[in-house]
């Protein structure tokens, strides 16, 4: 049984990033320069509505930058990860590594 002191040593996980759908989207964006809605939709396997909601939450938190343009008279919405988003993802990676390393084998 763990003592209360042990509980304090488990770092807090960023709940905004920890959500599976948002984590997936950030994982894509951190290895790409930018991608549009359709590309992310295709690879994430999410519904349009769900993805739209998740991207809005990420952009509201300034983790993702949104750019709306027109290409050949068709609207295009592209996303790219911000510097804050990269830092947050790096911190999340360290946090999760620390937590998982503390698990017994």
């Amino acid at each position: 049984m763990t003592s209360s002191e042990d509980v304090l040593h488990i770092p807090m996980v960023d709940g905004l990033i920890h959500e599976p759908a948002r984590l997936r989207l950030l994982a894509f964006l951190c290895v790409l320069d930018r991608a549009d809605f359709v590309f992310l939709l295709r690879h994430s396997g999410m519904s349009r509505g769900n993805m739209s909601v998740q991207m809005t939450r990420l952009s509201d938190a300034d983790l993702v930058a949104v750019e709306k343009t027109f290409v050949d008279n068709r609207p295009r919405t592209t996303y790219s990860i911000t510097k804050k988003g990269r830092q947050a993802l790096t911190e999340y990676k360290h946090t999760m590594t620390a937590i998982l390393d503390s698990f017994p084998d």
Binding site: A27, V31, L32, D33, D36, V38, F39, L41, R42, D72
Partner: protein, 192 residues
């Protein structure tokens, strides 16, 4: 930024729609047809004719369904470098093929004529290896196998160089059409 498996998989997915197969099939058919009508000089112009069409076709047919993506600067740099190496190898191969053709014209004892007839298919088949390196699409190894078999068959039965290119071109083109059809069908809900 070092490449990750995720980035590599996303980059590989960029080439899964079948458009590249379609273009390669058309190029092989153009080269084979040029050889068939003994207009050899028109074979090499297939590349400068098709390359400018790539971007418009991709933008019109593929991007609305596959989406738009910009890969990382390091990935783009690696791609450009690899492409330059492939183009240089292609140019070197073309020069070699022309030299051998000239040698055969001057002295048939230097290189057997039937071997030279199979050379275009063999050399273009080797190009398939480079396409696999560039795009991570293993199916281009199958196209390489088809071209090499066609080239060897040409040498064995003492046929002309046009037939293996036309037959291989039709196979690659058909594969491209099948892949594109599947891509369009799977993208029905995604198209903008």
């Amino acid at each position: 930024m070092a490449s990750t498996q995720l980035e590599s998989e996303l980059h590989a997915s960029y080439w899964e729609d079948g458009l590249l197969d379609l273009f390669c099939g058309v190029a092989l058919l153009m080269i084979g047809t040029a050889w068939w009508f003994e207009l050899h000089v028109f074979g090499p112009i297939s590349l400068p004719l098709l390359v400018p069409l790539w971007q418009p076709f991709r933008k019109r047919w593929i991007e609305p369904r596959a989406g738009y993506v910009e890969f990382s600067p390091s990935r783009r740099h690696r791609w450009r470098t690899s492409l330059h190496v492939v183009l240089l190898c292609g140019l070197g191969t073309f020069v070699l093929a022309v030299l051998m053709y000239v040698l055969v014209q001057k002295n048939q004892n230097v290189v057997p004529a039937d071997f030279v007839a199979g050379l275009p298919a063999l050399l273009l088949g080797l190009g398939g290896f480079f396409v696999v390196l560039l795009t991570s699409q293993i199916r281009f190894l199958a196209y390489t196998f088809v071209l090499i078999c066609a080239g060897i068959t040409t040498i064995a039965i003492d046929a002309g160089p046009a037939a293996p290119l036309i037959v291989s071109g039709m196979i690659v083109l058909a594969a491209g059409v099948l892949l594109l059809t599947r891509f369009f069908r799977e993208s029905k809900g995604l198209a903008q």
